[in-house]
Every structure is written in C-alpha cells, then in structure tokens.
C-alpha cells in the first residue's frame, strides 16, 4: 500500500517537473508565463483522445500530444511574443484561461464497447486506460516518466552549453543588445515558446495516462503558478533549479505531516521570503558560475 503511495508521489514529482522545466525555459528568455498549464492541458486531452478514442499506441499518443502542445504554443507565440514583460504574462494568463474554458464546453464522444468515451465538457474525460490495457504496472510507468524526464533534462543541459542556450540567456538579459549582435530576437523567442510548449506537453500526456481521468479545472492557473514558482525557488542558473523547486515543494513539504493542512501557507511564505533574499532563486547564475569554477579547480587538482 505504502509502495503504491510512494510510486504515485514520485510519479507526480516527475510529471510536474516537465511543466516546471517548461516555465523555466521561458524564465531564461526573460518572460514570465502564467499559462504553461494550457499546453499541459492541450496535450493531456489530445493524447487521451488519440489513445482512448482512436486506438493509437501509447508512444504515438504521447508524441501526438507533445506536438499538439507545440503547435498550440506556436499559435500563441506569434501574436504575443513582441509583448514585453507584464503584457506577455497577462496574455499567457488570458490564453490559458481561454483554453480551460473551452475544455469546459468541449464535448467529443464516441461509443466504444457500448460506452461513451471522450471529453464531456466540465464533466471531464474518463477512461484513458491505455497503460492499464497494455498491462504496464505503476512502477514501470514511473520508469517511463523518469526516462523521458532524463532525456528532456539531458536536452536542457546540452542546450545550456550550446550557442542556442546562450542566445536564450542573452535575450533574457538584454533583448536590444542581443538584436545588435545580429540575432533575430523575435524568431528565437518564438522558438523558446514552442520548445517550452512541447516540454509541458510531454508532461500533460504522461499525466492523462497515469490519472486516466482529466477535467478542465485541474488545469487552472494555480498549476501554472506552481510551475513558475519552482524555477524561481530552485534557481534560474541551471535546469536543475526547477527540479530542486519541485523536490522542495512536493518532496519536502508533502512529507512533513505536521504541516500537511497548511502546505500552501508555508510554501507561499517560503517563496515570498526567498524572493526577497534571492530574486533569481537558490541556484542563480552567479551561484552556478561559482560552482562551475570550483568544479574546474577540483578537476585540475585531481589530474
């Protein structure tokens, strides 16, 4: 029993990490998005429809969900990417709420084995049973989640060392100066929004198949704000930052029984205090830079 509980908590940490990484990528390019939950939702519904209603295999459903989320991100990015700061944030918020409200009225059902399957407005979307039908155990599914998370994380780490990663950071610091290094800031920002959409989409598709049931109100703005807060707690200097944020919130606070009823009170206060001391999180750029320096010295000393 406890094992199942543990597997579920650990799986949840894995899934929420995707949306945290997604919000983090936009923080790196200097934009706050309150709306990454929209891409999570689009993919959750899209992949659920693909596997439960069209009978697609799981892997194809996941891929389809992630691509759909990327496409949705492209649609938002093109008109909003030239908005700066606050305006962009509110636009993402408006978009995400629009998506949620559309799923509140979106109904698309077909009859499978004498039962109606598919999204039914605010009643949600039941019986996304692909992983149970193909006899994947909860533990195996957890491994799938972490396998994909590892792939995405390695992608982020490669990105951070690449020129593209540097371009994202440049835009985050000074878009005008970056334009004057001969780079088309708009194009790179659209690219960042789409990449972030795909990453959130992977998480959404995984979520729908673990929970087997999704409803619009799961994808409210609180999910997006949590995703954002994780990056800001953990730090914007490295992709490990948002994962540390997730671990602190779910791993640490969830496990301390004494504060279970007051988790949001403690978490909210903690984040607010942290933002005063370290506005760019625990592992901010300076901290990461310092750690890299120590690491280099260490390697030199051992060689």
């Amino acid at each position: 029993m406890d094992d199942i509980y543990l597997v579920t908590v650990v799986s949840n940490i894995g899934m929420i990490s995707f949306i945290a990484l997604s919000a983090y990528l936009l923080l790196v390019v200097g934009e706050i998005s309150f709306g990454q939950q929209a891409f999570f939702a689009v993919s959750a519904y899209g992949s659920g429809i693909a596997t439960a209603m069209w009978g697609w295999p799981i892997w194809l459903g996941l891929l389809w969900g992630a691509l759909l989320a990327g496409a949705a991100a492209l649609v938002v990015a093109i008109p909003t990417v030239r908005l700066r700061g606050l305006y962009f944030s509110v636009a993402t918020l408006a978009f995400a709420e629009m998506v949620r409200l559309i799923f509140e009225i979106f109904t698309y059902q077909v009859e499978i084995d004498g039962e109606l399957v598919g999204p039914d407005g605010s009643d949600g979307f039941r019986d996304i049973r692909a992983i149970y039908d193909s006899n994947v155990s909860a533990f195996e599914y957890m491994l799938i989640i972490y396998g994909l998370l590892a792939v995405v994380l390695i992608g982020f780490l490669i990105l951070e060392r690449s020129r593209l990663g540097a371009i994202f950071r440049m835009i985050g610091e000074d878009p005008m100066l970056t334009e004057m290094q001969g780079l088309n800031v708009t194009v790179y920002k659209i690219l960042a929004v789409v990449m972030a959409g795909v990453v959130a989409g992977i998480g959404g598709a995984l979520y729908a198949h673990l929970a087997t049931y999704v409803e619009p109100k799961i994808f409210n703005v609180m999910l997006g704000v949590h995703a954002l807060a994780y990056g800001l707690i953990g730090g914007l200097g490295t992709a490990f930052g948002p994962l540390i944020g997730v671990a602190i919130d779910i791993g640490l606070l969830e496990s301390i029984r004494a504060i279970s009823g007051y988790r949001m009170i403690v978490f909210g206060g903690l984040v607010a205090l942290l933002l005063i001391v370290r506005p760019r999180g625990l592992l901010d750029e300076a901290a990461v830079h310092w750690l890299r320096g120590r690491w280099r010295e260490l390697r030199r000393a051992t060689h």
Partner: protein, 248 residues
C-alpha cells in the same frame, strides 16, 4: 565605405540630427566630437538601426541600410560599443565575447567541439589576450571594473571582424593612464585594417587615433577636416566654450 546623406532625426520636436552629411572612406578613422546633446550617439543609434531616420539615407558600400533592422546591419559588418556600457552581466567575460559570434555565417547553434568551433573559441581567447582580459576570462562580466568593461566591449565588437567599427566614448570614465592605454589599444590593435568612427571628449585619444575630425553641434556638422585645423576654427571653440569643456 559609409555615406550619410541629409540624415535627420528628431525626438518630440527636438532635432537631434539635422540634414547631416558625412562620407567616410575605406580605412579612414574619423573622430566625432561635440558638446553633450549634439547628436553624436544619436548618429550611432540611427546608423545601427536602433532609431529609425526621419529622412535621409545611409549607404554602406553601395547598399542602402537606412531601413534595415539592427540585426541585419550588424550582419553587414558594422559593430559598435556603447557610451553607457552594455554587457551581459550574468555571463562570464569569455562568454560575452563568444556570444557575438552567434550570427556569423556558418556558426551552428549546437556545434559543440567541431574544428571550426575550436578555432572560433581560440579567436575569442586571442582577443581577450589582446585587450588584457585573458586572466579574468572566467569572471562574471558584471563584476569587472568600468575600464575593463570598456575593453570587454571592444573585444566583443572586434570578434566579428567588422568592416566598420563605431566606438562610443571608449575612454569614458577612465583615468589619464587608462585613457592612454586605451588610445594605444585602439591605434595599434582595433583600427588597423578597418574603417572607424570614434566619439570621444578626450582630445588626447582623438589626436592619437584619428586622421580626421568632425564636429557636431545641435545635430549639424560645423567642422570637418584634419584635427589640427578643425580645433583652430572659431565656431568650434565657441561651441565648446558655450557647452561643456572638451575634456569633460
């Protein structure tokens, strides 16, 4: 090389540049002086596409760049530094120079350790060596003292091997010793083989580096010629006496 014809730009009714004509030949180094607010930095901003021109034309090697984007202009071979320094403070010194190569032709976004990329990284190190920042290349750029930040900007501008280099007060805020070092660096390292416009209040640096001097006042060119002659002109002296002292 660069030809500016009848260039005008105003901000809220105040003319920052008024029907300015300026031609710079290949390999020429032009000093640009004038009191504060005379339009020097505005000229750089209009050339590099930060501000649009109200009227007039900017032609770089027979190519009209008046309506080009800042990114497009940089790719055509113009690089600049900034009067109020602009560096990526949260990146290391080495990264600040490295990032300027991103938009050079043939640079891949992910090319990790190809031979070409190694050569480009070596070029970054060579430039940092030349401007005297080699020993601090892993330091976060935001923590450098001001004169070193100016050197860093110079290295960043040079890493693209620009045909036209625009330097905006390269010795601003420097002590006389540092100014002399910067003048030598510009004369011996930055300028040879390329065309250059230098905005500077410090006449020592101008006379050390420039073969020609151009004076702006209220957005108009009031003098243009060899430095020695220009500085004798009555209206130049008046412009300066009426405004800030030349070495302010």
């Amino acid at each position: 090389m660069l030809r500016i014809e009848g260039l005008s730009r105003s901000f809220g009714g105040v003319a920052a540049l008024e029907a300015l004509d300026l031609a710079v030949a290949d390999g020429e180094v032009v000093g640009l002086i004038g009191p504060n607010g005379s339009g020097k930095t505005t000229l750089f901003n209009v050339i590099t596409g930060v501000h649009a021109a109200d009227s007039g034309r900017i032609v770089l090697r027979d190519r009209d760049i008046t309506r080009s984007t800042p990114a497009g202009i940089v790719r055509l071979g113009i690089a600049r530094t900034f009067q109020n320094l602009r560096i990526y403070q949260r990146m290391s010194v080495r990264e600040n120079v490295w990032v300027a190569q991103h938009s050079l032709p043939g640079v891949g976004l992910l090319s990790g350790s190809s031979a070409a990329e190694r050569a480009r990284r070596a070029e970054v190190d060579r430039l940092l060596e030349a401007v005297g920042l080699a020993d601090r290349r892993e330091v976060l750029a935001g923590s450098l003292p001001l004169p070193d930040q100016r050197r860093l900007e110079l290295a960043r501008a040079l890493v693209r091997s620009p045909a036209l280099l625009l330097l905006d007060e390269p010795a601003g805020g420097m002590t006389p010793t540092e100014t002399a070092e910067m003048a030598a660096l510009i004369r011996d390292f930055a300028v040879p083989g390329r065309t250059c416009i230098v905005i500077e209040h410090k006449l020592d640096l101008i006379s050390e580096t420039c073969g020609r001097l151009c004076v702006l006042n209220f957005g108009r060119k009031i003098a243009d010629g060899a430095p020695g002659e220009v500085l004798q002109q009555a209206d130049v002296l008046e412009a300066y006496l009426g405004g800030d002292a030349p070495d302010a």
